[in-house]
């Protein structure tokens, strides 16, 4: 069994039809539903103060490092990356082992435009960086998406390395010294983006995540989402049903790359100094681990996976030099007991039977077709 077959097995194993939290919330009365969602969002915005809550604080706090720093420098960024990678890997079923490349493109574009070669403001750089990442996704995807399975995985693996090594050797990208003094986000009222207070960065990241979640939710349930679903399940069959598989795979790559690049700008704008060693291959693997751990193909799973992968090593700082080992063991345990991830993909509840009525007259297939156009 090849790597990608094994992966496919993992990702397309039919999940059971279970009524999850999402559906239960969806079935609630409108007022209750929206107040619950609002409460949840507010509690997320209060995350920097979580360590002060009894019990919860003991559970989430990260000994030895500032919790605030962990959630702004790592959690928010990993979650955003996992959301983007989930589009490529989870929705369209394309195994991408070089996702860090897009993340680097986003970060470097911000660096180049706001410090290395120009002095553009952050607000202007970010859309450009996202666009450049998206274009890099299309440039990588156009020749390679004709490949399938393991071959695609290997090419993407190479892409991630190409970006890092090129950055290391290109003087106009700062070489191995990297780029410093990268622009930070502009202050918004009382939110001052400085070095002392990490909270504004967290609020900004969380807001971006919420917007991305909203956007992806719409996309997932659209015609595009259905096409991705079909491509992931069986590419040939999808093509036979009239899905332009190449086009939709390219879209998945482009959207995934754009979100990865956005995460890169967030990272670069926070740390304000980047060099090639910030974008190692290991990070690609960690991003993929986040998606698989959380539940491939499930957006909420990707969010949880990203958060856990970012936070867990910090939580285990007590174990000093063994913390990476403990982290690895924890990952293995999760995969043993929840092979489809923490929040597996669910089959949407069948609501159609309730409002579907058989037509009055029985049509014949030979009738002059209205089906084509």
């Amino acid at each position: 069994m090849s790597l990608s077959d094994a992966f496919k097995e993992l990702t397309s194993r039919p999940a059971r039809t279970v009524s999850g939290v999402g559906e239960r919330v969806g079935d609630m009365p409108r007022v209750a539903r929206w107040s619950l969602i609002a409460l949840f969002v507010v509690s997320l915005y209060l995350m920097p103060w979580w360590p002060e809550v009894p019990l919860l604080g003991w559970l989430v706090d990260t000994p030895g490092t500032s919790f605030e720093g962990v959630i702004t420098d790592k959690v928010v960024i990993y979650v955003l990356v996992a959301l983007g990678l989930n589009v490529v890997v989870g929705l369209a079923g394309l195994l991408d082992l070089g996702y860090v490349g897009f993340y680097a493109v986003g970060a470097y574009t911000l660096g180049v435009l706001s410090s290395q070669h120009a002095n553009l403001p952050w607000l202007l750089c970010v859309p450009i960086a996202v666009a450049v990442s998206m274009i890099s996704g299309v440039v990588l995807g156009t020749p390679t998406l004709r490949l399938r399975g393991d071959y695609l995985a290997i090419v993407t693996l190479g892409f991630g390395e190409i970006i890092r090594i090129s950055a290391n050797n290109a003087d106009w990208l700062g070489g191995s010294r990297g780029i410093s003094k990268i622009a930070k986000p502009p202050n918004i009222g009382p939110l001052k983006f400085g070095i002392l207070d990490a909270k504004p960065y967290f609020f900004l990241g969380l807001t971006i995540i919420i917007v991305v979640v909203f956007f992806l939710r719409r996309l997932e349930h659209s015609r595009v989402g259905r096409a991705w679903n079909a491509v992931r399940e069986d590419e040939d069959a999808a093509e036979l049903m009239g899905v332009n598989t190449f086009k939709f795979k390219l879209w998945a790559f482009a959207i995934g790359a754009a979100i990865g690049g956005l995460a890169g700008t967030l990272y670069a704008g926070k740390v304000r100094f980047i060099n090639p060693s910030n974008f190692p291959l290991q990070l690609s693997i960690l991003f993929l681990a986040a998606v698989v751990l959380g539940g491939t193909g499930n957006m909420w799973g990707a969010i949880l996976g990203g958060a856990v992968v970012a936070w867990m090593p910090e939580r285990f700082r007590n174990f000093a030099d063994k913390r990476v080992f403990v982290f690895g063991v924890a990952l293995v345990l999760v995969m043993v007991f929840r092979p489809q991830g923490l929040i597996p993909r669910k089959i949407r509840k069948e609501r159609w039977l309730a409002n579907w009525k058989p037509p009055q007259r029985t049509p014949q297939f030979g009738e002059t077709g209205t089906g084509r156009g």
Partner: protein, 238 residues
């Protein structure tokens, strides 16, 4: 002629699987390609639906040359294939699979789609019982029904069926074949590829016998059924 295949040549690497296959399908017919393993039947089907590229020859549909047209555009013209074996989407429900069949239609959410859905359910009552079950959990016969039903959802002018009887119990085979006849009588042209030559020839208006990438015989289905050479090769007759 609805489908006109001329001198079709397809190769896998250096091995030529089709060495100049020519045949045609008229509107309203059931035409079958029979042949042994490796004769090129499935390759022919995959080439007509656009999954394989040709090295020579041409395919014309309704007078239009579609030799190099991508697969997904051929569906819009009205060619739809129920692929060989498990060509369904295993992780989607029966209903979602059928919905995917209508993906290329311009009238996606219209009454017509609902009517076609109902029609498919009438042809295959088993699918109605299993609308919210996952495709991958269906039995082999049910999956075959789903594959055919899904193809019908695109309202094809030409339905391509690749080995619809493969791996099915004899009773189910007879049922599938009578459904194919019914679909055809309702006006859909059918191109059928079969190893089960006896059944296929009995149902078909015309038939072509493929052998190692060449058409070696053609004629009316019933005539070929009585042809001694065909009987000897495919029907185990004397």
């Amino acid at each position: 002629m609805l489908l006109e295949v001329t001198d079709l040549r397809v190769a896998y690497g250096k091995i030529e699987a089709l060495k100049g296959v020519s045949f045609g399908v008229n509107e309203g017919e059931i035409v079958t390609l029979v042949g042994a393993n490796g004769a090129g039947k499935t390759t022919t089907m995959r080439t007509i639906s656009g999954l394989r590229t040709v090295i020579g020859g041409s395919i014309k549909f309704n007078g239009q040359d579609i030799t190099t047209m991508p697969s997904h555009q051929r569906v819009k013209l009205g060619i739809c294939q129920a692929p060989e074996g498990r060509g369904i989407f295993p992780g989607m429900t029966v209903r979602e699979n059928l919905d995917m069949g209508a993906y290329a239609r311009v009238d996606q959410k219209s009454v017509a789609v609902n009517e076609d859905m109902e029609r498919v359910m009438q042809l295959f009552p088993r699918l109605r019982e299993r609308t919210s079950q996952l495709g991958g959990t269906l039995s082999g016969g049910e999956q075959q029904m789903l594959a055919i039903g899904r193809a019908l959802m695109s309202r094809p002018r030409l339905l391509l069926l690749d080995e619809p009887s493969m791996g099915l119990a004899p009773k189910l085979i007879a049922q599938i074949f009578s459904i194919i006849t019914e679909i055809n009588q309702q006006g859909t042209t059918v191109l059928l590829v079969e190893q089960n030559a006896a059944q296929a020839l009995r149902r078909a208006d015309r038939a072509y016998v493929l052998e190692t990438g060449n058409v070696v015989k053609m004629g009316k289905g019933i005539e070929l059924l009585d042809d001694p050479a065909v009987r000897a090769a495919y029907l185990g007759g004397r």
